[in-house]
Subunit: 438 residues, 2 copies
Amino acid sequence: MSVQRPFQQLASRATAQSCVQRSQHSFQGLRIPQQQSRCLASVAPPVTQNATGSKGPTAMVFMNMGGPATTDEVGGFLSRLFADADLIPLGPLQNYLGPLISRRRTPKIKKQYAGIGGGSPIRKWSEYQAAEMCKILDKTNPETAPHKPYVAFRYANPLTEETYNKLLEDGFGKGRGGRAVAFTQYPQYSCSTTGSSLNELWKWRQRLESPTRNPDLSAAEAEGSIQWSVIDRWPTHPGLVEAFAENITKTLETYPEDVRDNVVLLFSAHSLPMSVVNRGDPYPSEVAATVWAVQQRLGFRNPYRLVWQSQVGPSAWLGAQTSDTVTNFVKKGQKDLVLIPIAFTSDHIETLFEIDQEVIHEADQLGAEGRVRRAESLNGSPTFIKALADLAGAHLHGGEVCSRQMGLRCPGCTSERCLEQKRFFTGLGQQKNKALTL
Amino acid sequence: MSVQRPFQQLASRATAQSCVQRSQHSFQGLRIPQQQSRCLASVAPPVTQNATGSKGPTAMVFMNMGGPATTDEVGGFLSRLFADADLIPLGPLQNYLGPLISRRRTPKIKKQYAGIGGGSPIRKWSEYQAAEMCKILDKTNPETAPHKPYVAFRYANPLTEETYNKLLEDGFGKGRGGRAVAFTQYPQYSCSTTGSSLNELWKWRQRLESPTRNPDLSAAEAEGSIQWSVIDRWPTHPGLVEAFAENITKTLETYPEDVRDNVVLLFSAHSLPMSVVNRGDPYPSEVAATVWAVQQRLGFRNPYRLVWQSQVGPSAWLGAQTSDTVTNFVKKGQKDLVLIPIAFTSDHIETLFEIDQEVIHEADQLGAEGRVRRAESLNGSPTFIKALADLAGAHLHGGEVCSRQMGLRCPGCTSERCLEQKRFFTGLGQQKNKALTL
């Protein structure tokens, strides 16, 4: 079940009567905070809104970590990445250690990006996926059309700040209301990834649209801010599972028929520091749910393991490590291995460099004879894009604010930013004692 | 998919013709080792076998860790537990540290068992569940009837050795063949639990029925040993999921209706040392699969977390810890919590003492006002027993030797015992270069 509120009633063309209904509205026990069910009748429609009865336009904002499109952007990308305590917790010395580590790593990482063609393809894929999804939504969900695709990256261009300003330029918010969906492109929720992106989105929302943070806003502008909802996790969406299964099957078909069922599938996800796991981050469990769903779809034909890649630094991270696993299996004589990037939907440095050029290269040096292979990332998969549209379409119809699970902070969480962000996105605003657990 | 071999063809009443078919048999690409498809025509039927065309009797052997039925058994139980490197890896000093720790802990643990009524109820529940399941199987699977219930515990009576000898006394093996199913009562596979039980079963099989280990066996006795198959994991069996969902729903109904959807569900499983997790143990992922399936069945109505309990000793274990989680949530004002034992099917010291008398007691001392509760363990749940029968019935019909996944050792595994055990139970015997990955 999701946390829901009636977006129809939050739309900008309201009547006096619907305002009354709105302020009294409650849904499945979750009362709608007054400031979110306020009357917006006086608010002008967004400039791009069509006048044919649609509640659109709707901004569909794809959130992801992003990656440097050119090697010149690597320095800035890494400095933002190592400054983010949600992603890489470095303790009280974060502001000192972060820049130090990022400066030291920049030359090495520049070479890696040079090695995969000079930059990350993640912007290209994200923009393509968002645009293609919106085309489908315009047909399947005419009531919220037109759907406008946006991309907001956490560490690379287009940054969240840039995208938020673009939304305002395009006619959303600033007194004109309008609806935007923050759609995480991490299928499994982690405070390090989706949580960090939402913290950043909330930060810019406060800076640009909150009257308490931005005194230049007029009363009307403050009233007609963007109405956000969040698609915060989708680890076992059947379309996602199908897209993974298709790409795995394609790769398995490259092996001779008599060994095909004995190929070991290694589902590989970015690891997490144990400090994050032990705080109660939901990511390891949700990644496991994806893996189980994909294996179920494939009929458990092949033996498999979920393994974890891309550990950085000396602290303890969740294992087994992908690279060690491949090395161990190849040394034991199990050379037929398919690596499946299971927690990222587009190619990025961890697939194109770490898996393809490091892990597989090392396996071949140990005698794997080209039998360690990688399933293609979802990238432009039509099945995947259809899944995105299916998921977003249901969200737009359903009036979800976010999942029920998003309201629950990790048991060991002490982040005030996380608390405020969750209060905002779950629609609980300043209601400190609301029923939903924070 | 499972590793299969045709049990029908391994039955003891064979004809000369079926022997030929047998030796040529292959199933879905997995060739049957010669020594397992050998002709058993000369073997006498088990003494308890009925003569009405049934392939039974079939021994249904429930494997679990067990628990001391009286406080006098605590010392022996703990000494076996801390001697088991599969469960508690203490390194090269295991033989020294194990007895030391178990002796030191015995008085404390005795008190805990005294506090839950003088002993563990796990034997009572296991014998009840196995017997009730067999009654159902006798009706649903007449071709393998009668089904005879057995319990084999790893650390308490009835120990695996005792149960194996009972099987031999009852007419299985020793030249009489007969089929036995090793049915793990841990729904999710860990090398620490199911793996350890299988290692123990394999050890006694070798000692009692292998001609290389037991030269007193006659040729006929060695030929007609027990034919084992294994139900090695069932984390998302729909009946299991339904049984959990029922007990959770019952507990949720004890909360007032207006807070019911805001109760946080804490699925609690026994933790693992990080050394085992990092070796690639499948348990954390399979527990997560159970949790996801139960939440899916419940419609994700409530926020939840998967948490881990019962850490012992100073080394790193997988978290977040159950007790810390409850403390943190209660301190933050989230008092409505339901604890769900998700990786064990009967009550035991970790539910009756650790959760009920420690965790919940501490929560109440922090002001939880009785709002932290526990869902009942599956114990005598008819839905659960039906699930066991459903699962076992499908296994008996399907000719499974074990799951496909069981053949794959953990990436970091270096245990020769584990290797040999898997070779035996997957039916690969001495075939060192078989297709299945070991």
